[in-house]
Symmetry: C2
Subunit: 332 residues, 2 copies
């Protein structure tokens, strides 16, 4: 019978993860019991928060050497022993880094048929999209003319937030780590400008592009970028604290932004965790499907192929070398 | 004719200010022109933000050696050449550190007669009270049962915020710099507990008094206290960023709170500047006068006497040795 190939963490990296920190393991196909559903993984989402799980610092729990790597997936139901699902259904859940997964029915959600391609259920119409929508639209409440700055501008959350900000009539400035990404941000995603943080002076460029200050900063990176941006806020600025990419690969944590300039700007900083918005996922999809259908909202997907390719794809993501949302097409 | 005695800054202190950094100067009585009002200072408010003005770091502008010290006052109109005011009126304005002041009519506000004693127009029903009300009630929106932490617990803003939090049914924990202040906070102001930051372990005591985390932190001090509190926030905590007392006497600024725990708590940090709430002062006084009249809201005033006593009183305030709202009764 077919084996179920899985990716386990082999050793905990200290800085940037390497493919050697992971191990592909063949395990027997799982059996299912009454009430359970056997799924074949179609797409696996790779996300920066996984680095934080490996470091033992993520709120969703830690991953130790020997553990199966975790992650969200779009899967096809192979066999169902629960009335809510039938073979052939497309479902979303945490199928993890493996070819097959077994779930209680309550761990799975039917993927709406309108989501096309199905991988969009893990990207622009999935958790990254929900994160962007909850932070930008529901929390920061953009107004036409607001100046919005987005680091990790071409990633899953950032590229959705950038396009949503343009839809809301904002001026949108991205920050990214290469000229290729910056070109993509401006030419394909519609950013008004994008700063290459590796070759340009970020402080000078932010002052040049945001002469009247920054109204909304959708923080996905923390670190010195957050601290710098918080000295350049406009009156009544909103800062969404949502990710700490700059610190994920570091053994220590960067101190936070000075409170003085935050007071002076009468700014609001809001911690955001996407899990809290799960009950509003339907509302988000309903709002964003029309944007996807009319082409104003799209997602470039950086797609690796086969579960064996997942470790290298994740390491590329953590080195910032992905072009678009990092994913794995697991089934052939 | 009577002289007008003023306090000028003589030299800029590097750390704690000393009385020798100030100079009392006798100047001629000012003349007034059409449209102006001559006022005799009754009460002068002394506030920590003045240290920031001296350091050249305050948003209201800097005070250089040779400049008149600035401050809010309650005064009696001596002579008016404007129809809105008449001799004998009680007015509030920025009369500064001097016995007499001249103002355009639009720089003065009539003090409501219901405010008794009149000095309350500079304390519990004045700018410190408005700061406390705007931060606690309008911004943090306390619910019964919320755990509220207030540093500088017995000062002008802190003691008002603490009493307002009790009125709203919260559990209120103070932080202060002496046993005398802590006793006062608990016995007179109604705090549930008060931590002596100089003799007790703040981290341990906060954990002991707030085992389920801190719902509201009304920050008046910044520094390491802010950073510590931000690691102990409850879910959906609100932090009001309003003062930087710990940094005012320092040449450098303390880095801010780590964003990670703020994200985890889904907390909101809001920069607050009381000037923004000036249009709502009447609404605030209307809400708080009943509390003052029924005894639930009061203010201990640490009253110095005569303008010559202002420098020493201000230095005591900056050393944290004041007992209640620091003020000067200027007129004899």
């Amino acid at each position: 019978m077919t084996q179920n190939r899985q990716v386990h963490l082999k050793s905990t990296p200290e800085n940037n993860p390497e493919p050697g920190n992971f191990e592909v393991v063949s395990t027997p196909m799982p059996d299912i019991s009454d009430g359970e559903v056997l799924c074949k993984t179609e797409y696996l989402s790779l996300d920066p928060y996984m680095r934080s799980q490996i470091a033992g610092r993520h709120m969703s729990g830690s991953i130790q050497p020997g553990d199966l790597m975790r992650g969200e997936t779009i899967s096809t139901v192979v066999e169902s022993r629960h009335a809510d699902f039938a073979a052939g259904d497309i479902v979303r859940g945490f199928g993890n880094w493996q070819e097959y997964s077994v779930h209680s029915a309550n761990e799975l959600s039917a993927q709406p048929k309108e989501i096309s391609p199905p991988s969009y259920g893990l990207s622009v119409l999935g958790m990254p999209g929900l994160t962007a929508y909850a932070g930008l639209v529901w929390t920061a409440k953009p107004k036409a003319g607001d100046v919005v700055v987005i680091p990790a501008a071409t990633g899953g959350v950032g590229s959705t937030a950038g396009q949503l900000a343009k839809i809301h009539g904002c001026t949108v400035i991205g920050i990214a780590g290469s000229d290729v990404k910056c070109d993509y941000a401006v030419k394909e995603l519609g950013y008004d400008a994008c700063i290459n943080r590796k070759t340009e002076n970020l402080a000078e460029k932010l002052t040049e592009y945001c002469p009247d200050g920054i109204d909304i900063y959708f923080d996905l990176v923390g670190g010195e970028t957050l601290n710098l941006v918080c000295t350049k806020l406009a009156l009544n600025a909103r800062v969404i604290l949502c990710g700490l990419m700059e610190d994920y690969n570091k053994p220590t944590r960067t101190p936070g932004p000075l409170p003085g300039p935050i007071i002076g700007a009468r700014a609001t900083l809001s911690g955001l965790v996407v899990y809290d918005f799960e009950p509003r996922r339907g509302e988000f999809i309903e709002a964003c499907l029309p944007y996807v259908n009319d082409g104003r909202l799209s997602m470039r997907e950086d797609m690796a192929h086969g579960i064996d390719a997942a470790p290298e794809a994740f390491c590329r993501l953590m080195r910032g070398e992905n072009q678009g949302k990092a994913m794995v097409k697991v089934s052939s």
